[in-house]
């Protein structure tokens, strides 16, 4: 096991910065003053809305778990211009713990990445009992609670601001895919995907750093790089640092891939290759690799690639293997793969590729 994988063991023992990725809100006497179904007229609490918008800007997601009439509550949220802030709102008569579980599953995050805000001790106790990993907050102590490190993301990038939109378009794609009756390939063709590859600019570096920390499955080495390291490599004449992005007709997936190559003779050396799990089901894993292979071949070199078996990145090994790479060196779990670049697959028909 690599050192990077032991991070999870600290859950529950000390505050982890940026642990909370989604805040789930109660409505009655939490988001607004009053009980919607009893009083009909409720007034939204401006200080709560301000916190929701502040966290939204930082890339923290929001949802709702409320025992209420679904249509009446959604209508109220719509009229306040707040409905768009909440992903997969759960407004029903089920226990809040089951609503929170449904949200975590839909957003695809762990329960330890969820916080739950409610005014009622009973509701918080029910969630604490059923889902001990969830962080519960009394709305009366909101300001203090939200200033804790758990609510301060480790990375705030230009993508943080649009994270909610990315989740909303992802939810739409998921629904379309579920209803689609053709093959996976045909579905992918309906998306109109556009893949871009460009040298990393300074404004890409925070997201690039985040990708090295967050990406596990499609990551060739599991090594993390700091902002400063990436900035130096970006400007090094011996290196090429490439950033990949993906958009489709439903919106952007953001910056989703990173490649670091060292130029050389007789081989270029791919020090790092990673792709975000956001695009794991999109069949674009080889596009960036193929581009690097083409660059090396144009320069008259072969391509070697560092690979570390982390126990979680086998899909990346398969990507290399099926792109024609073979093991040239192996030292325990650390490998060097090599391709003579005789065969480079063209990009799939269902997407367009733009390189800069």
């Amino acid at each position: 096991m690599s050192p990077g994988e032991t991070i999870g063991s600290t859950i529950g023992t000390k505050p982890r910065q940026g642990r909370i990725k989604c805040v789930v809100w109660d409505l009655d006497n939490t988001l607004w003053d009053g009980v919607l179904l009893e009083e009909g007229r409720v007034s939204v609490r401006p200080e709560v809305v301000a916190e929701i918008k502040r966290l939204d800007d930082l890339g923290v997601l929001h949802s709702v778990a409320s025992r209420n009439d679904h249509d009446a509550a959604m209508e109220r949220l719509e009229s306040e211009g707040l409905a768009e802030y909440f992903l997969y709102p759960q407004i029903n008569w089920n226990p809040k713990s089951s609503s929170i579980e449904a949200i975590a599953k839909a957003v695809n995050i762990g329960l330890d990445a969820v916080a739950f805000v409610d005014d009622q001790p009973f509701e918080r106790a029910e969630v604490e009992h059923m889902l001990p990993a969830v962080l519960t907050v009394d709305v009366a102590e909101l300001g203090q609670a939200l200033s804790a490190p758990e609510f301060q993301p480790r990375f705030v990038t230009d993508e943080s601001r649009i994270r909610r939109d990315m989740y909303r378009s992802a939810a739409l794609r998921d629904r379309l895919e579920e209803d689609y009756t053709g093959t996976n390939e045909e579905f992918l063709a309906t998306l109109g995907m556009h893949f871009t590859i460009a040298p990393a600019e300074r404004e890409d570096l925070q997201r690039a750093e985040e990708l090295t920390v967050r990406t596990n499955q499609l990551n060739s080495t599991g090594r993390t790089y700091s902002y400063e390291e990436l900035d130096a490599l970006r400007q090094s004449p011996d290196h090429v640092l490439l950033v990949a992005g993906l958009t489709d007709r439903y919106g952007t997936y953001g910056k989703i891939g990173l490649a670091l190559v060292e130029r050389g003779r007789p081989a270029w050396h791919l020090r790092m290759l990673l792709m975000s799990c956001r695009v794991l089901a999109r069949g674009v894993g080889t596009v960036l690799l193929n581009h690097v292979m083409s660059l090396a071949r144009e320069d008259g070199a072969v391509l070697r690639a560092d690979f570390v078996e982390t126990g979680r990145n086998r899909v990346m090994y398969v990507t290399y293997a099926f792109a024609g790479f073979r093991e040239a060196e192996r030292d325990g779990n650390r490998l060097v793969l090599e391709s003579d670049l005789r065969q480079i697959q063209p990009p799939p028909d269902y997407l367009t590729v733009e390189t800069r």
């Binding site: 080889t286 078996e309 090994y317 990507t319 293997a321 099926f322 063209p346 028909d349």
Partner: protein, 86 residues
């Protein structure tokens, strides 16, 4: 025996690409539809269906290039599993 291996793999590929009819020695990668997602699904399918684990050093394009190659790969892995178990 090796037809027992080819048949489920052929069915798996046909389900994904109904327009393809695949000969045992036909190069599936030359057909141009292989992406990294399909590659991983194919590896997972073979491992799960035949209860084997393909070691990384045997994870090569050539081992999955044709139905014949996959039958050889699986045959070899189940033989060695039987030997080490025996």
């Amino acid at each position: 025996m090796s037809d027992d291996i080819r048949k489920p793999i052929r069915e798996f590929i046909s389900a994904k690409f109904p327009q393809i009819s695949l000969a045992d020695d036909e190069d599936i990668f030359a057909l141009g539809f292989v992406n990294s997602l399909f590659a991983m699904e194919l590896v997972m399918f073979v491992e799960k269906t035949f209860g084997v684990r393909v070691p990384n050093e045997q994870l090569r394009l050539d081992s999955f290039r044709t139905l014949d190659a996959m039958a050889d790969l699986v045959g070899g892995l189940t033989d060695s599993a039987r030997l080490s178990a025996g």
